[in-house]
């Protein structure tokens, strides 16, 4: 495992050394395409196929501001049912993430691939429905059933979550203006509105929420198309 991290770091260093060598020869003369890139996260339909308790859709987009800086965002909707011994619940809602992407990769002339470091502010509006739960009882003297399935599920509406997110991703131009990308997202919950006598255990766009740890992770795998506007 350690060896892998070391290799990984060496590769990153190599990347930045190559990049610096290329700047002088490459950045002055060539034109780059500016436009709006729109796409869809295909990891979510794959997850829906593998996990019957999950439904999700995410649209992604960015707009090139300068040679390496993009205005970027994601808009999505997720529904996740989690049935555990202790709690059985379903969360569904919409999220939006807005921020910037910065490309740290310097392309050869005419190519447009990206290694992206991104920053986002994320916001969700969701509802959580409690379907059943377990009553923790250390004493089983009465031999009662501690598991409770609610005949009328309890729905908590108007919940939200706010978080900041750091992304590391790649985008490769497969055909002209058609990109395939993957990004790893690390996020930190800033604040959230919890249901009364319950907690946000899943937040759309953020994924699983831990009780004593504000961090979370996610990933997406996108196919996107760039609508070119002008060249500069």
């Amino acid at each position: 495992m350690l060896k892998f991290y070391i290799n990984f770091l060496i590769l990153l260093f190599c990347g930045s050394i190559w990049a610096q060598n290329e700047i002088k020869t490459d950045s002055i003369a060539t034109e780059v395409r500016y436009g709006i890139r729109l796409g869809i996260d295909i990891s979510k339909p794959i997850r829906m196929f593998l996990d019957s308790d999950y439904k999700g859709l995410e649209l992604v987009g960015d707009y090139r501001l300068t040679r390496n800086l993009y205005l970027a965002g994601e808009l999505g909707n997720e529904t996740k049912k989690i049935d555990r011994d202790a709690v059985n619940f379903e969360t569904s809602g919409t999220y939006i993430k807005l921020g910037v992407d910065y490309n740290v990769y310097n392309n050869w002339t005419g190519m447009d691939n990206l290694i992206v470091v991104g920053f986002r502010y994320g916001f969700s509006q969701h509802a959580q429905t409690l379907l059943g739960y377990n009553l923790l009882n250390n004493n089983h003297y009465w031999k009662e059933d501690n598991r409770l399935d609610l005949t009328t599920p309890k729905r908590y509406e108007g919940l939200n979550g706010h978080w900041i997110e750091l992304q590391l991703g790649f985008k490769a131009e497969l055909f002209r203006n058609l990109y395939m990308g993957i990004s790893l997202q690390m996020h930190r919950l800033v604040s959230d509105k919890d249901p009364e006598n319950f907690e946000n255990l899943f937040i759309p766009g953020f994924n699983k929420v831990l009780t004593n740890n504000p961090y979370g992770a996610g990933l997406n795998y996108t196919i996107s198309y760039q609508l070119p506007i002008y060249k500069k």
């Binding site: 590769l11 555990r84 009553l135 923790l136 059933d145 993957i182 690390m186 006598n197 907690e199 831990l210």
Partner: protein, 157 residues
């Protein structure tokens, strides 16, 4: 291309890690039990042991407590709004039985993702079906049972 592969492995590693949040620790307090302390009826400020006390839920065969003591904890039924408990004392080979019926309302309080909920009881009331046998008086010190640090019921005998 090698770099892409490395990063992908890193992503998978970070996403598949197991969380301590999924385990309910054994010491997590669950549904609290009803705590009784026995006092002397003649000197109500002084605790008094009950000789050979046997405590049994009415409808069950096994005792929840057996032995001389001045305080006990008794679990209440979580799927009912009343629990009847039989208190038996054996003093000088004389067996004295007395039952108390506790009535209450309850609500379920969220603990955590891994532990679920716990039952808390409110508006605790006590009724005796018989005229006094060995218990002089029952005082409810707090009618809300949400922890196991406080004495809920004081029994004078």
């Amino acid at each position: 291309m090698k770099r892409y592969a490395f990063l992908f492995v890193l992503m998978v590693c970070s996403l598949s890690s197991c969380e301590p949040d999924d385990i309910c620790l054994a010491e997590t307090p669950g549904t609290p039990q009803l705590i009784f302390v026995f006092y002397d009826a003649l000197q109500p400020g002084i605790k008094k042991e009950v000789p050979n006390l046997q405590v049994k839920g009415v409808g069950l065969d096994t005792d929840t407590h057996s032995g001389t003591t001045d305080s006990i904890a008794v679990p209440l039924k979580i799927n009912d709004n009343m629990t009847t408990v039989m208190f038996t004392k054996t003093d000088n080979n004389i067996l004295l039985e007395e039952s108390i019926r506790f009535t209450y309302s309850s609500y379920d309080r969220f603990i955590s993702r891994a532990c679920g909920y716990q039952k808390n009881f409110t508006t605790l009331g006590a009724e005796r079906s018989n005229p006094a046998i060995w218990i002089e008086n029952i005082e409810i010190l707090t009618d809300t049972i949400s922890d196991i640090k406080t004495t809920h019921v004081k029994i004078l005998h």
